[in-house]
Amino acid sequence: MTYAAIGLSIRIGEATLLDDISVEVQPGEIVAVAGPNGAGKTTLISVLAGDRPPTSGAVTLEKRALADWSRVELARRRSVMSTDRAVAFAFTAQEVALMGRMPLHGGDPGDVDHEVIGEMLEAVDCSHLADRVYATLSTGERQRVQLARAIAQVTDAEETAGTERFLLLDEPTSSLDPAHQHTAMRLIRRMADAGRGVLAVLHDLNLASAYADRVVLMGDGRVVESGTPSEVLRADLLESVFDIPMLVIPHPLLSHPLVVAEPHQDAP
């Protein structure tokens, strides 16, 4: 019962965007994907989402290839939050979030759909923006509305056991202020604890450290290391991948590691 990529490669001419990547997401866990710009994180998300076929390798959901799922069936099992957050026309924030329910209601949203959307907008602290025109919202507000939309797509009014669902999130917190970063990550954690499998591209290594069960560190289209945050967030590994001095220290209050880039050059 997993969302799995096995041996994914994407080659365009001479360029190799992804090189033999294998990743698995189990229900209940958050897998953070980290790595420098151009490492192939967004390409990985688009292949996992089924947007582009890999040159070699396969993506499977519950051991069935993505292509063998009907579009609507797949949409009910996994949602995708991409980095493109533009929405045409003057739809309100609530209408945009409600579009996430499309695969469940097929065009005529009912009470359940409105109820779920109400809860999700509340959870991302956007209830007060529900009737605002989405295009007039700030970047961070749009990001929260899109997160609400993505989660609502894989949420039932009453949680039904036995049907695993997955969230693929490309930088869900990149434009959020610290408080809303944690609001969003706590919500994602809660959704994972309720049985969803989450794969999230995160640039903030400390968010990955604090909330993820596993971290996949990517560099140059390859998986450099994957494992628990404390296994992967090591100074030597991070320095080689990000090409900048890194300081990794135990969080003074919590159990996970704390990562600081480019410490003072004179530091001992």
Partner: protein, 324 residues
Amino acid sequence: MGIGAVTISPAEVLAILVGQIGIDQIDEYSDRQETVLTAIRIPRVLATALVGAAWASAGVAMQGLYRTPLADPALVGIGGGAALGAALGTAAAVSLGIVAQYAGTVLVVAAAFVAALIAAAIVYRVAASSGRVVVATMLLAGIALTAFFAAVTALVVAAGRTPELGSVAFWTLGSFAGIVGRDVVVGALVVIPLIVVLARLGPRLDALALGESEAGHLGIDVRRLTLVISAVFALLTAVAVATAGVIAFVALMVPSLIRPWVGQSHRVVAIGSALLGATLLVIADVLARSLFSPTELSIGIITTLLGAPFFLWLLLHERGLLAR
């Protein structure tokens, strides 16, 4: 219905109408007035309403697919393509001797549809790159296509040398002067079902506002939706053009006028635009035939007088639309 070269008062209109169903002489009217009303004015008003609804809903379809309020099939060359197709279809119908029959009308609409589809495919091919439509490129492609199709249509009209082909002004500016009952029947059979189809596809067009891959993530077959919606606006454009030539700016204006009132839902916008488009074009046609009566203006002159400033206003107030 009373306004035009032959004046018929509202009371006379009513008298003629009830006279048709056997109630005689509630008011005096002449045979000439009766013929003008039943054979010319009524078909003309109905055809004008249908064509207005067709252009407006074609605008909703195209704007939804291209995710911009700046799309109008008449402005981006799809109307021009349909006009060329309709002119070629008319020439074919004349040579087959079926021009004044249902078969002829259907042939003209079909030829206009094929040409509109080809034009729509060219516009999409030029304007869309990796799933995103560049609005400025779409409008620029439209300039070239419109000019090209108008030139070829002029050639066809000149080479055809038959009165049935009409004039270049008919195809490029539009007119309801030659409407017969047949046009109304064919128009209604095509336009009304297409508006229903469009309204049913409304929620999918809403989701498409998120972007093409995002709509795909919601379980929508975007490729198929693109083909179906393109066929819908090409056929609506084809019927409108085959009936009354290219009438610009109705498709552009009407959806943008209705959205502030009814919201963005494509289902509601489609139905509202069809009704408003029908109403606006009937009013525009009354103006076209009464302003300089008994001389008639091309109806496209009226819609362009309103629509061109509206288009510039849209560009000024929503500069962001082109930047995407």
